[in-house]
Amino acid sequence: MRHRFETLYGAGPGHLAVLLLGVAVAGYAASIVAGDPLWPWMAVWFVAAVVGHDGVLSPLAAAVDAVLRRLPHARPTTVNYLRVPALGAALTFLMFLPGIIRQGEPVVRGQTGLDQGPFLGRWLLLVAAMAAVSALVYGLRRLTRR
């Protein structure tokens, strides 16, 4: 019986039980907002988060990394002096995007009494600082290795 189940399903009954439980919790949770007229938007954002990561950001990051790797380098690891500040810039840009592009400013001003003016300049300074530190470390390494 069990063997037959595993042949048909592809795994043991515990596998099925655990996953059905997880899906059931998700379905039950989704029913909490079933009466919310904006629930389809929530679902769209849910799927868009996956597509945005797996279909846009990840391939983009891989493509940029491939370009960086193909640049002429003194040694294979030199690419990391570009990679690290680039990843730092991308991470902070994505996480603090609303302030940097001044999205939602009327609400921010109403809530905090401050506008979003300083954020872009601060982020650019941060990116410049990360790039400068990386360049400095690279330069020092080149000097000490000679």
Binding site: W39, V47, G88, F96, G104, R122
Partner: protein, 419 residues
């Protein structure tokens, strides 16, 4: 089947493999439960028994009901600071974990059995759940409501969608993680430079690249990169919760280095909702302002001078908001329990505080424990000065461990409930 493989991306990093994925998985397994539980505690702190938590009806998907305590005063500051702060710090780890398992997304054939189809569906809930929580959380702490729906409802439901899939994922993958962690020595990896970095042993999980490229970074380098990303996020965000000199490093968040007063004075600390957007007539908080106390049968009314003539109590308490930021100040005012006695309800079962403003957070219901706490105040001043309009002049509530938004500002009335 392999012959029919479409031109899917090929993954060639020599770093991918069960060990690396297990390391990221172990970090998330240790830390995400803290983020989840503190998030659910925040729901409890909002007072769902009074209908003031959102979403209102969550069926069985909540922690056991309990009255949110008023002691210790830093409780909500701690739980919500952890929820937001740890959630932010884990973003690089989540991205690294997803990077490490990327080849599985493009595995061919896409579905081999009903078991695998179901597992992939649950992975959609898992990955969609964590990314949805990160995106909505990040937008909310920056007041960017571009998504249009209720943040509270969506973030709460998204959390349970993730939690169900997370528990299932851990149940199925825990043995793999343990095996993965045991397959290599962390200590040895931390001593291995790029030149000596070799791919992990080929394994049936499909994580190890079949045709690995030459390494450009070591495993310790990759771990340092992810840890450095988390450290960077911590430096940029911890100040909004911890305050002090760290606050000046929170340069990209709304509750970072500046606050609206910007004068270094007693009211120069972060504001949650300025007076200007409340729609309250300036005259309503002037000389004609009155505080109504009800619940004792007869209405008891105070003007600001007679409130200031009551015995005053001073307490240093944090205001801690759902966005994770907090600020600790020294408040002076009349104890809520003294006001309850003045209203004729010396042992209240609770109280409803109403503001002059309108809107969803214009009133808050407090438990008896919150009203009777010796540091629970109707504050008239802060740091030795009268409250500024943005901080709730003429009077605001400050209750230990209460979520910030329920510390009602521009208070109009307090109704003490005897049962």
């Amino acid at each position: 089947m392999e012959r029919h493989r479409p031109p899917l991306p090929r993954f060639r990093s020599p770093l991918r493999g069960p060990w690396l994925t297990s390391v990221f998985g172990a970090v998330l397994l240790a830390a995400l439960p803290v983020v989840i539980v503190t998030g659910l505690l925040s729901y409890a702190a909002y007072g769902p028994q009074f209908g003031q938590a959102i979403p209102g009806d969550v069926g069985v998907l909540h922690l056991p009901w309990f009255d949110w305590p008023a002691t210790p005063s830093w409780l909500y500051r701690l739980t919500q600071g952890l929820h937001v702060g740890l959630g932010l710090v884990l973003v690089p780890v989540v991205l690294a974990k997803l990077w490490s398992v990327a080849p599985k997304l493009f595995g061919w054939p896409p579905v081999r059995s009903p078991a695998q189809a179901l597992e992939r569906l649950s992975l959609l809930l898992l990955v969609g759940g964590i990314l949805f929580e990160i995106v909505t959380g990040l937008l909310n702490i920056q007041y960017d409501y571009v998504f249009g729906f209720s943040f509270y409802a969506a973030h709460y439901v998204g959390a349970w969608v993730f939690l169900g899939a997370f528990v299932a994922h851990v149940a199925l993958k825990l043995p793999h993680m343990v095996r993965g962690l045991r397959s290599r020595s962390l200590r040895r990896e931390l001593r291995t430079p790029t030149a000596a970095t070799r791919p992990e042993e080929p394994d049936p999980s499909g994580l190890v690249a079949p045709e690995p490229a030459a390494p450009t970074i070591s495993r310790r380098g990759a771990l340092a990169l992810v840890g450095g990303g988390s450290l960077l996020v911590a430096v940029l965000t911890a100040g909004q919760t911890l305050g002090g000199p760290l606050r000046s490093l929170a340069v990209l968040l709304p509750r970072g280095r500046n606050s609206a007063a910007a004068d270094g004075g007693p009211n120069d600390f972060p504001v949650n909702k300025t007076f200007g957007v409340t729609g309250i007539e300036p005259g309503a908080v002037g000389a004609t302002w009155r505080l109504d106390l009800t619940g004792g049968g007869t209405l008891v009314r105070f003007d600001r001078d007679s409130l200031a003539a009551q015995p005053q109590h001073t307490a240093t308490l944090p205001i801690a908001c759902v966005e994770g930021w907090s600020t600790t100040q020294t408040w002076t005012g009349v104890r809520l329990r003294d006001l309850a006695a003045l209203a004729g309800v010396p042992e209240p079962a609770g109280a409803v505080v109403r503001s002059l403003e309108n809107g969803p957070f214009a009133q808050a219901t407090l438990t008896s424990g919150q009203v009777l706490h010796p540091d629970a105040l109707l504050a008239l001043g802060v740091n030795g000065a009268p409250l500024s309009p943005d901080h709730g002049h003429p009077a605001r509530v400050v209750v230990p461990a209460l979520p910030g938004v329920h510390n009602t500002k521009w208070v109009r009335s307090i109704e003490f409930r005897s049962s």
